[in-house]
């Protein structure tokens, strides 16, 4: 019997390539005759291109071609984003691209191009745009809704009524309610109410979204950085204006995406179209400076929450209002935020209202727990505030309100497939030593005050209905074809484990095929929403189960007896009780190739996705092939929870915060890969802390340009910003509605880390919540020293 590989630590099979320099990321590929492209970025936050004079650039030796926005198959229109535009809607938006024999010539040519721009009104703060007569991010609108540009203005009375320190709350385009919010407050013994600001944050993966493209025999070959391989081919095809069959997308390694490269990037259109135009391979190397603009960001919120609790700690009412900064092309974080709040607290009554307003700041996209991380970090300090007033332990109040598997998910989903949230909280309390550590709260040592806090963060963690595709080749090895991307989470290898375990095969006999759509990849999820682990352990489990059936049937036909009398283990199919009476996987592959039909891809299950059918057709005859759709039952919403506990020391003389200890736990179902799970969780926790601590999103309000566009001004946490040994434990209880028991983990740690940090800082300040991120040293000091705030309570981008 092969040892079960689920639940063990492995060294990912691609790690040797990563650590010897052989792993090739998008910018590491070369093609014969390759030339370079450079972008001309808008110097204004909103403008109209009146005239472009490229004559001087075109006369330059070495310049090969110029690409304008109107040459792209996908053009910028309304809230649809093109890769280039003649109406830039944020400073740094690409207007055109130049190809030249080398990058310096391309850059010099960009400098030689004269662009006449008509400045247009711009807006950075959604609230400004909501005022009557306030500026709009687009000509003719300030709101994205169902692909259409809309407009929303609130009467002046809404702003007057609110005053300077409370969120104005006019008409909300998005609204839902559960129960009766007023009745909920009537029942409450304690009510807390705050206006809260959460900043926008740039993703800044380590690898900028460089890409290289060329055409061969009418097919586009594009090397790019993506989170999802199979699903990126279609978006590249749309950008290039060709059929998916005419695209070979290669993305073997992705140097981080965090939601910013879900199915590639709009900018991939530039080398794709430019290389066709000039007939040469084109490399578009994206610099960190450019990445700041086109690399996506999390949507910021200006929010307001009013929460009621009964004396026993139960949340009777949650009234939430969010104004989202959607950037120029929209985002849907705010709506998710309302849903995520219900998965934390199960309020007896709730009202959600929200409005998403376009601004002339870099485009938003999902960023690890979009909406979820923000709302958790915004609401958790308020729960602490209520707990203090009610004199209830902060861990207890979370346990009291947390859902179990029968819980609900707003506005109209639930129950959960599994929710072992209290177990996760208990485990976390134990791991962190909550009972002892909370005694340290407020303790002063010299200039330093200790604070402790926690954050509970839920997020969606699975999906169903994807396909698995397995091949046993004549070398006797199992080839797991993965349409998912290799984005660094190790899920490319970890989701193949069920195939090894179902076939009782040793892990060293498993080969993973990935990263290139010409390698026949099955229909997959996008690597977003923490779906991958759940969706693809299921898909590969289904395919492996089908493979066992094929092996049994093939052996029975070849060797006699009934299929059910055969067993599969250790790379052989054999008669139960007699290992000698059977054949090896290598032999089975050869027999399958002779038999043809359903054994070697000649027939496939009808319910497979067309992409998988095409992949199987491409592999037909190469071995024993099993493909299957995930048809396993799922009853409820798939959610994962992470609880993080933090201990900090706040220096009351400098406002600096040092994180002394961090401990995190999760209910993400069965643990697939303990070491990797801990790393995913800790890494997400650090990213969350970065949003509240060191990363900044600051704009010059007069000119609408960002100040924080590089790592030194928008610095993600470094190795000295986090504890030396963060701790981690998992509940490790199988989700009953998925055959492997595993749920996703990518997203919820971010909100947990951010909330734990924010709550711990508030605790060090005696329970005083600043109700905004980031919490910079100067803001903390101003608050501690009772000086007037150098910013308005609802100001963003400060």
């Amino acid at each position: 019997m092969a040892e079960n590989v689920i639940g063990t630590d492995i060294s990912p099979p691609d790690l040797r390539a990563k650590i010897t320099g052989r792993a090739r990321y998008a910018e590491d590929f070369r093609a014969d005759g390759m030339v370079f492209a450079k972008l001309l970025l808008s110097p204004m936050p909103h403008a109209r291109v009146l005239n472009v004079d490229t004559s001087a650039a075109e006369r330059m030796e070495g310049v090969l071609g110029i690409l304008r926005a109107d040459e792209l198959p996908v053009q910028s229109e309304g809230t649809r984003e093109g890769a280039l535009t003649d109406e830039p809607k944020y400073e740094g938006e690409p207007i055109l691209a130049v190809a030249a024999v080398d990058e310096t010539t391309a850059a010099a040519a960009v400098e030689a191009i004269r662009v006449d721009l008509e400045p247009l009104p711009f807006v950075l703060d959604p609230l400004e745009s909501l005022r009557e007569g306030g500026p709009d991010a687009h000509v003719g609108g300030n709101m994205a809704g169902r692909g259409e540009l809309g407009s929303l203005k609130w009467p002046a009375s809404v702003f007057e009524e609110a005053g300077a320190d409370r969120l104005p709350m006019g008409e909300a385009p998005a609204e839902w309610a559960i129960g009766d919010i007023e009745a909920g407050f009537a029942e409450a013994d304690v009510v807390v109410e705050e206006s809260i600001v959460h900043q926008s944050v740039t993703h800044h993966p380590m690898e900028p979204r460089s890409c290289m493209a060329y055409w061969q025999n009418g097919k586009l070959f594009l090397h790019g950085s993506t989170q999802s391989t199979e699903r990126t081919r279609g978006s590249v095809a749309r950008m290039a204006g060709v059929e998916p069959d005419d695209v070979v997308f290669i993305g073997e390694y992705c140097g981080g995406g965090f939601g910013s490269k879900i199915s590639g990037s709009p900018i991939m259109a530039v080398p794709a179209v430019l290389s066709r135009k000039i007939g040469r391979p084109v490399m578009l190397r994206i610099t960190r400076y450019e990445e700041n603009y086109i690399g996506r960001a999390r949507a910021g919120f200006q929010g307001w929450a009013k929460i009621g609790f009964r004396a026993d700690g139960r949340m009777t009412a949650l009234d939430l209002y969010l104004v989202q900064d959607s950037g120029p092309y929209g985002a849907s974080d705010f709506f998710t935020a309302g849903t995520v709040a219900t998965a934390s607290y199960q309020p007896e009554n709730m009202r959600f209202r929200g409005v998403a307003i376009l601004t002339n700041t870099p485009p938003r996209s999902a960023q690890r727990a979009p909406g979820g991380a923000q709302i958790v970090a915004m609401l958790e300090p308020l729960v602490d505030k209520a707990a203090r007033e009610l004199d209830i332990d902060r861990l207890e109040i979370r346990k009291l309100n947390a859902p179990d598997s029968d819980g609900w998910l707003g506005p109209q989903q639930g129950p959960f497939t599994s929710a072992y949230v209290r177990e996760a909280l208990d485990l976390g309390g134990e791991l962190f030593g909550w009972e002892e550590k909370k005694q340290l709260s407020g303790q002063r040592n010299g200039t330093k005050v200790t604070g402790v806090g926690m954050g509970l963060s839920p997020f969606t963690a699975g999906s169903t209905g994807r396909d698995g595709l397995l091949v046993i080749r004549p070398d006797g090895k199992l080839y797991v074809h993965q349409g998912i991307g290799n984005l660094g989470t190790h899920s490319i290898a970890d989701t193949a484990r069920p195939a090894a375990d179902v076939l009782d095969l040793s892990w060293d006999q498993v080969v993973i095929v990935w990263g290139d759509t010409s390698k026949h990849l099955p229909f997959s999820t996008v690597q977003a929403g923490s779906q991958t682990t759940h969706a693809h352990t299921r898909a590969n489990h289904a395919a492996a189960t089908a493979m066992v059936g094929l092996l049994q049937e093939l052996a029975a036909r070849e060797l006699g007896g009934s299929p059910s009398s055969y067993r599969v283990a250790d790379g052989r199919v054999f008669r139960a009780g007699n290992r000698a009476a059977g054949m090896s996987f290598a032999e089975a592959a050869r027999v399958a190739m002779e038999m043809g039909g359903k054994f070697s891809g000649g027939e496939v299950p009808e319910d497979l996705n067309d992409a998988t059918k095409a992949a199987v057709a491409g592999l037909a005859g190469e071995g024993l092939i099993a493909a299957a759709r995930d048809n396993y039952e799922r009853a409820g919403a798939v959610y994962t929870w992470v609880a993080t506990f933090a201990q900090v020391e706040l220096d009351v003389e400098t406002g600096e915060v040092e994180i002394i200890d961090l401990a995190s736990t999760t209910d993400c179902g069965t643990v697939m890969h303990p070491r990797s799970l801990a790393a995913q969780t800790n890494g997400g926790v650090f990213q969350g802390i970065g949003m509240a601590k060191g990363q900044r999103w600051v704009f010059d309000p007069k000119w609408g340009i960002p100040f924080t566009k590089r790592f030194y001004t928008a610095r993600p946490p470094g190795i000295l910003d986090v504890p030396l040994s963060p701790r981690f434990a998992a509940v490790d209880k199988a989700d009953p509605y998925t055959p492997v028991g595993a749920k996703g983990i990518g997203e919820p740690p971010v909100g947990a880390g951010e909330a734990a940090y924010v709550c711990a800082v508030a605790d060090a300040m005696g329970g005083q919540c600043l109700c905004r991120t980031p919490l910079t040293a100067d803001m903390i000091l101003a608050e501690l020293e009772g000086r007037p705030r150098p910013y308005g309570l609802l100001d963003t981008h400060v």
Binding site: D9, I10, S11, L15, R16, K18, I19, T20, G21, R24, Y25, E27, D28, R30, M60, E61, G62, A100, V101, D102, E103, T104, A107, A108, E111, H204, P205, M206, E207, P208, Y253, C254, G255, G256, F258, R285, T287, R288, Y289, L487, G488, T489, R675, S676, A679, N682, G683, G684, Q687, G690, R710, F711, P716, P717, G718, I719, L720, V722, L724, S725
Partner: protein, 210 residues
């Protein structure tokens, strides 16, 4: 004038200011890292204005002598990646903020994006591709495999080179010392816990191999 800067830098360390001055003096715009100066002629006047410039240099990279044609202002990271095919050295920021391009010069860590190729003549350049000997992984590489280190791993070559440089000088660091010595590298996945586990494991492996 550029020559003076470069010579001085070789003796007395290399500052960011000198680097930027060097790039500007050589005629490139400061916002663009140039490479692959083929025959476009864009910079010919700037280059000739500097007088006789020897573009052909011999570099010692991973123990091999490599002759390359490099303009004065090209950075080592660009030369490695675009002239010598050593793409293991990554560009994460182009500006000495992230450490993805870290290489060793005479065994000491340097940011490859912030040192001019002409200034490394006569020095031993080691990149991630040069760590293996006869198919055997360097102790730091083996430690990464043992500890399952890194996630997206775009920072991995840089961190690995920093660990190699660190262990050469500090063969027995504490976890805290290792964190300080590796703080010039950034990992956006936040895999610092495993990175420090790797560093400690690498120190252990290095000692046992020594």
């Amino acid at each position: 004038m550029l020559e003076t800067e470069v010579i001085r830098s070789r003796r007395g360390g290399f500052t960011r200011r000198k680097f930027i001055k060097g790039v500007i003096a050589a005629g490139a715009t400061a916002s663009v890292s140039g490479y692959l100066f083929r025959d476009s002629g864009v910079l010919a006047p700037a280059l000739s204005a500097q007088g006789a410039v020897e573009r052909l240099v011999t570099l010692t990279v991973n123990g091999q002598q490599r002759r390359v044609d490099v303009p004065k202002h090209e950075t080592l990271a660009m030369t490695l990646r675009y002239q010598l095919g050593l793409t293991g050295t990554k560009l994460g920021c182009d500006r000495a903020e992230c450490g993805a391009c870290t290489v060793l010069l005479d065994g000491v860590t340097h940011y490859g994006c912030s040192i001019l190729t002409h200034s490394v003549r006569g020095r031993e350049v080691t990149t991630i591709e040069g760590l293996e000997t006869d198919g055997q992984l360097h102790p730091v590489q083996q430690a990464v495999i043992d500890e399952g280190g890194f996630q997206c791993a775009f920072c991995a070559p840089g961190f690995t080179m920093s660990m190699v440089g660190m262990l050469a000088k500090h063969p027995n660091p504490t976890r805290e010392e290792a964190a300080h010595l590796l703080s010039g590298n950034l990992c956006r996945c936040g895999d610092y816990d495993k990175i420090l586990n790797t560093a400690m494991r690498a120190a252990e492996l290095s000692r046992s191999r020594a």
